[in-house]
Symmetry: C3
Subunit: 220 residues, 3 copies
């Protein structure tokens, strides 16, 4: 296994380096970001190098790249860096937690970031550069297209299709056989019972705060 | 262990054969359906035989039956086939995922279909022919009566009772000590805070699509 | 390891003794409650002794204490008993399920009760005397302050803060970077998208029962 260079210096990059090291047994050699964002010579105790100059110190012969970005520009930024790294000869790593449930039908792909306690049922397909944060249910015969970002505790029932680059927030519920288009933003807690066209936004309102404070509750 | 004949030719039958083989180490010998639905001589690479003639090729001396149907007729069809198989001398198999969390108080029963990442807390009781799809929480001292179908990510809190044949959709939330009657249909995403009589239907509406498309969102 | 005395005689005490014995391999020697609540000489097949007289039969030299109470008085009662036990020289035990996902950044603390199938991501911090019932997601860089009670299937996203003694009901969804004050009561199924001040109550209404009974549904 080659060492890994992690693209990013945010919390997701910090997490990715942690998971790759502690759970996957990979060695992380450095972090990299575009030179405009390289604020110093190191991050998280490792060298931080400008992405433009990466080959000089961490060439593709000895290093894979993992792009640890969130859903900025609806996941286009993460994808662009994956494409750039590949074009420059880097192998693109992926991370699938040892604590994610999956079966022999599962196929890993480049830059997937699949965290602990996800359930990927048999016959589900997950595209490249997809993030499955934690504890999601990806039902049988469902498809998550490339570059999507699925937060946590999302229920993707059976036979669902989620389009490329879509963002699905925490605890969203998607009924079986629903098709969600590309470039959608499904906010936390949404309930999706019907097909949703490309570029849709769903944004449930939060629960109101009651006028009664907790010290006046009688049953607790 | 006897070989298993799986009743059904839908996605659930395909899944059941997969789980029984890959996870439980059982050998699936054939599929069976009523003769009116037997569309050919094989399904999924195995013989497909009419249920009426099952004994001729796959007799009960060497084969158990597992009925892999969904909740058609509010779970009555699945139950009828279990009863018919038992009356004809077949042992009725069950499947409890090796990745379901349960404790020494759990007792398996005929035709249970309990998938990965379910949590069955101590002192919970699950009836025969119950389906627990994936990732449900079945709280301590709760009872799921026979023939019920619980989808995925359902929270059955502590001390809850769910009546026979009831269907509970994905991501339903049931508060502690609530009693749900028999033959209820609780739609995806419902929040159940009070007792519900026999035959009740709860059907939350889905989240509306926003008028603003995703490419006009500023924060993403 | 010392034997454990469990404070309480309710369902949570019964569960705690079960988990400590079956999962953690600890030996539970007795139950204890305040003398006004000691209804007999035994509970669950073990001696039941008045807390006021505990040292006489189960002294701190040979016994740790675990306080198995729910969220009475917004978790103040449980905390008071922990403090009383510690002041009288007892070590305070904790229980973290062998089936809870956590990483090397996790630190256990006194009287934590962390059940199966919780996810505690890297860099999350959990205070002492916190209960995490089952199947919660505690996101990276989040903090659960001491004495809080988190029910089941709660999503605490990344960078969230939950204040001391707060109660969070089943299947509550908390968006990333939200701060919830101390002494809050967040009811089952609530969706929390904004910061919530100390002492707040959120109480979503349950789903209404439909006028159409299940036997008149055509699609099931």
């Amino acid at each position: 296994m080659k060492d890994i260079v992690v693209f990013g210096t945010g919390p997701i990059a910090e997490l990715a380096a942690f998971y790759l090291t502690e759970d996957a047994g990979r060695r992380v050699a450095a972090f990299t970001v575009d030179s405009d964002f390289a604020t110093g010579p190191s991050f998280g105790g490792l060298p931080l190098v400008a992405f433009e100059d990466l080959e000089a110190r961490f060439p593709p012969e000895g290093h894979d790249l993992f792009v640890a970005l969130a859903y900025t520009q609806l996941n286009r930024l993460r994808r662009a860096k994956v494409d750039a790294g590949r074009a420059r000869g880097y192998g693109i790593a992926h991370y699938v937690s040892s604590r994610a449930t999956r079966f022999s039908t599962f196929e890993a792909a480049e830059n997937q970031f699949i965290l602990e306690d996800n359930t990927i049922q048999p016959f589900a397909r997950i595209g490249r550069n997809v993030t499955l944060w934690s504890g999601n249910h990806i039902g049988h015969h469902s498809t998550i297209a490339e570059d999507a970002f699925i937060a946590s505790h999302v229920v993707v029932s059976g036979g669902v299709s989620i389009g490329a680059r879509s963002f699905v927030g925490v605890n969203v519920t998607i009924r079986d056989h629903v098709t969600i288009g590309a470039d959608c933003v499904i906010g936390a807690g949404a309930l999706v019972l019907r097909d949703i066209p490309d570029g849709s936004v769903l944004a449930p309102g939060g629960t109101e705060v009651s006028k009664v404070p907790s010290h006046r509750l009688k049953r607790i």
